[in-house]
């Protein structure tokens, strides 16, 4: 059964289509990788699924767990089981890592989630989720916090960006933990080795999906820099 169905979603800003009649289905416990060049609408899609302010579809619908959620607020969507790790997570003054991981559920064991994202809990539990964390540390803590929510659907917007190359395996491990826990994952990434752990993949180009299927196949296609819609070496579809 599909956990997420995006049907003919269009999102315009100043008469420019950022998402253009976009459709996508995600099955329960499926990891779906989303590839695409910069500015092609991946993060915008994430905001539309999460329901961020200012991201109301121009047309089309988002269906989660058989329910149209277009009119739900972010927290209502979160309470249904959707959560998201932002591409660039914000910083918070005065909130410790320990408390951040237990924001919603005080019962969780923050240490175990830190270890899962490759951070030594004794070094990080009492740190603040503020400017003092490095970019990669902050990203890992965001991943840990989403993992701790055990969502039905996790949207991970470039979980690998800002993570050093040697630690790619850490991120792969985390994504596999989501899968093991039964979460579906919409995995936005620019790294092939990360996309390859997905069950399926899609390539986006200017607000549309131009290729879907086996991750290996989609990654090859992506690297060939061809776009069927644009019918050219470099995508010109605007």
């Amino acid at each position: 059964m599909s956990i997420l169905e995006i049907n003919n979603l269009t999102f315009e800003v100043n008469n420019k289509k950022i998402l253009d009649d976009f459709s996508l289905k995600l099955e329960s416990s499926e990891i779906h990788a989303l590839l695409g060049t910069n500015g092609t609408g991946k993060s915008t899609l994430a905001y539309l699924i999460m329901g961020c302010e200012g991201y109301k579809p121009t047309s089309g619908e988002v269906v989660f767990d058989s329910r149209v959620i277009n009119d739900l607020k972010i927290h209502e969507r979160a309470q249904l089981g959707i959560s998201m790790a932002w591409q660039e997570p914000v910083r918070f003054e005065g909130i410790s890592v320990k408390n951040y991981l237990a924001l919603k559920n005080k019962e969780v064991n923050p240490s175990s989630y830190l270890e899962l994202v490759g951070l030594h809990s004794e070094l990080y539990l009492n740190r603040m989720v503020d400017k003092s964390l490095s970019g990669g540390e902050r990203k890992r803590i965001e991943l840990a916090s989403i993992l701790a929510l055990n969502p039905k659907l996790a949207i991970l917007d470039e979980p690998d960006s800002g993570i050093d190359m040697l630690s790619t395996q850490d991120i792969i491990n985390v994504i596999n933990v989501f899968k093991k826990n039964g979460s579906s994952v919409l995995l936005i990434t620019h790294r092939e080795e990360i996309a390859l752990i997905a069950d399926r993949a899609s390539q986006m180009c200017y607000g549309r999906i131009i290729c879907s299927g086996e991750p290996q196949k989609v990654a090859e296609y992506y690297k060939s820099r061809k776009c069927l819609v644009c019918d050219g070496e470099v995508c010109l579809y605007v």
Partner: protein, 311 residues
Amino acid sequence: MSELEELMKAFGEAGPDKGIFANKEIAHLVASGHKVLSMRGIDGLEVSAKETLTGISAQVTVKEGVKIKNPVHMCFGILHKKGTQKIKMDVRLERNASAHFIAHCIFPKAEKVKHIMDAVVEIGEGAEMRYSETHYHGFYGGIEVIPKAVVKVGKNGRYFTDFTLTSGRVGKLEIDYTVDAGENAVAELIARVFGHANDEIKIKEKVVLSGENSKGLIKTRVAIEDEATAEITGITEGNAAGARGHVDCMEIVKDKAVAKAIPIVNVTNSLAKVTHEAAIGSVDKRQLETLMAHGLTPEEAVDVIVKGILR
């Protein structure tokens, strides 16, 4: 119940552990209204206090080279609904001395109460003073609190102060601190206040960097809701070569509350550098959305963010 017991009961968890009054290694001073209820000096730290017509006049001296191990506790309060308490305080840390003072100020039933603190602090060469002050003003808002301090930090001296008033009402608060930092001296002033209803908050903090390579930081975190108002003035003067100062003010505003931030930086020596940042407004949208994506309602999310900045 003695007045001391009553005061300590009013402090509850916000106050010091009762054991400190019996402990001969911990210095303290406790005053309720115009009365000194208890005080103790220890080796190297002298405390004297006398009752005046309007309140208390106290002197604290930490002797040269003495490092006081346990925090010195000071408790001031008025347990009645009405009253005025004027505290005159002289604190002197001699050369290379160091001490940490914890002040608890409580006015739990204040309906028409005025508390005025007039402090003169002198921190000698190489000495270090930490001063943490926590206030509790009850739920009526009928209080006026006017803390004033003039602090002089000598060469290589260090002064750290933090003021916290984050539970219960504020009433009318008017802080006025001035710190002069000598050569290589460090001054750090932090204030955290949460205002509700028609509370009025005025904070004026000034750091004068008059010594070469002196450093100053003024950090203010204020949250206000309902019809509360806040006016925060952070002034830093860079008057000597190598002086470095920073003013950092953040105010979160809810409902009909009105906030104002006035950072003033004044540099009279071209080799000094002073910076400032001020952020006033409602809660940051991205922070709010991040917490909501974790399942918190907007109200819960605002609460977490406000508590965070006031921590």
